[in-house]
């Protein structure tokens, strides 16, 4: 990710998500797969009651990929997005939920207590940017979180997957959310994997609840399923061993090996390699 410029640095969301970008969300299977996985996890974090059809708010619903997961779980949803191109893709896909064009930072326009939960996939980081002269990120975030707080029912939860650029952003977001009355915090899945690492903000309405544990952080739990484990282990063993003592046999062998790799002429290893010479010599 580091080499690619972050989308929110390129243009405001309503301009960045134009028709070409929106098209990717129907044609690029890798993008679709990642989005679906993250939505599944977000729905899991909501811990909605089983077998009860709930009313869910999807913030930054885009082309309705996340909404389809909600529909599969038997919930009804209303989606909000700022990009009309993304919403037209959602219309084409004939998603079940109701769609709305709106800006999260201007506040949500719903009656209090209407939703049982809210999900948001890869949208929250956009609020950290000031795309217009009048935008103050902290203010917009507070307006967003306080209106969200009021439109969620008591006992409701909100799960946001987002890509924070740095730790200050995480701090800013959680600070504004807690100021708006939410409890909760950040859950990180697979914190040791650069690829599978996902950051979720889980917020509760009313009452302190136990924050769920991120995947891959429980003791005894090993890494990402389907990913190779070894790189980490190999490094650790090497670090524990350290470099061999100078002038020792190991050090000489390693040096010879290194020079052999460099293509230099090196005498073959034998049982005499690294031995002290006799005194009389």
């Amino acid at each position: 990710m580091a080499s690619v410029r972050r989308p929110e640095h390129q243009a405001p969301p309503e301009i960045f998500y134009n028709e070409t970008e929106a098209r990717k969300y129907t044609s690029n299977t890798r993008m679709i797969e990642i989005q679906l996985k993250m939505t599944e996890r977000a729905v899991e974090l909501l811990t909605l009651p089983e077998d009860t059809p709930c009313m869910i708010l999807d913030l930054g619903c885009g082309s309705g990929l996340s909404g389809e997961t909600l529909t599969e779980h038997g919930h009804n949803w209303v989606g909000l997005d700022i990009s009309s191109s993304m919403l037209s893709v959602a219309l084409e896909r004939e998603v079940e939920g109701d769609l709305m064009l709106g800006d999260m930072g201007q506040g949500l326009s719903f009656r209090p207590g209407m939703f049982d939960g809210a999900v948001s996939i890869s949208a929250l980081q956009w609020l950290c940017n000031a795309d217009k002269k009048s935008h103050v990120p902290a203010k917009r975030m507070f307006k967003f979180f306080s209106t969200l707080y009021s439109c969620l029912a008591r006992g409701g939860r909100a799960a946001f997957q987002f890509y924070p650029e740095n730790s200050q952003q995480v701090e800013l977001i959680t600070q504004q959310a807690l100021k708006a009355g939410f409890t909760g915090g950040v859950v990180v899945d697979y914190p040791n994997s650069s690829k599978a690492k996902k950051v979720f903000l889980v917020l509760f309405v009313g009452g302190q609840q136990q924050l769920p544990r991120g995947l891959g952080t429980a003791p005894g739990e090993k890494g990402v399923p389907g990913h190779v484990q070894y790189t980490d282990v190999r490094q650790r063993i090497k670090a524990a061993r350290g470099k061999p003592l100078k002038k020792s046999r190991d050090w000489i062998l390693e040096k010879k090996e290194r020079r052999r790799r460099q293509g230099k002429e090196v005498r073959p290893d034998s049982k005499y390699t690294g031995r002290k010479r006799k005194d009389k010599f």
Partner: protein
């Protein structure tokens, strides 16, 4: 836009609006789509609805039918009534028209069934 969503929408997020509810509907195109009937969901939603504003919204687009203006009792067992409410909430869609803020008269246009709730900078 479904009438269920309309029932939840306000214009309170605008500057200077106190209640902003209910939003008026001026519809130029209304469509009916088929949605799976889920009695549990309808039962769960009815207590949360503003029944009066649902009736007036349905009336303004000419879809009220024979629904009572007052919410009847024992709704859980009244399948006929639940089906009618389901039809009204989920299956009637406003495709194009305007939502109107009751206090400022600000119009929120609906295109392709998507209401545009974006505000200008001076309205935030």
């Amino acid at each position: 836009m479904k009438l269920l969503t309309h029932n939840m929408l306000t214009s309170k997020f605008m500057k200077g609006v106190v209640k902003g509810y209910p939003l008026g509907i001026v519809a130029s195109e209304v469509k009916e789509v088929a949605v799976d009937y889920n009695p549990d969901f309808v039962c769960r939603m009815i207590p949360k609805l503003e029944w009066g504003s649902l009736c007036s919204a349905a009336d303004s687009i000419g879809k009220l039918g024979d629904l009572p203006k007052e919410l009847p009792e024992n709704i859980e067992s009244n399948q006929d009534f639940l089906k009618k409410v389901h039809h009204l909430l989920m299956e009637v869609e406003v495709i194009s028209g305007n939502l109107i803020c009751p206090e400022t008269g600000r119009k929120f246009p609906i295109n392709n069934g998507i209401p545009n709730m974006l505000l200008n900078e001076d309205e935030v």
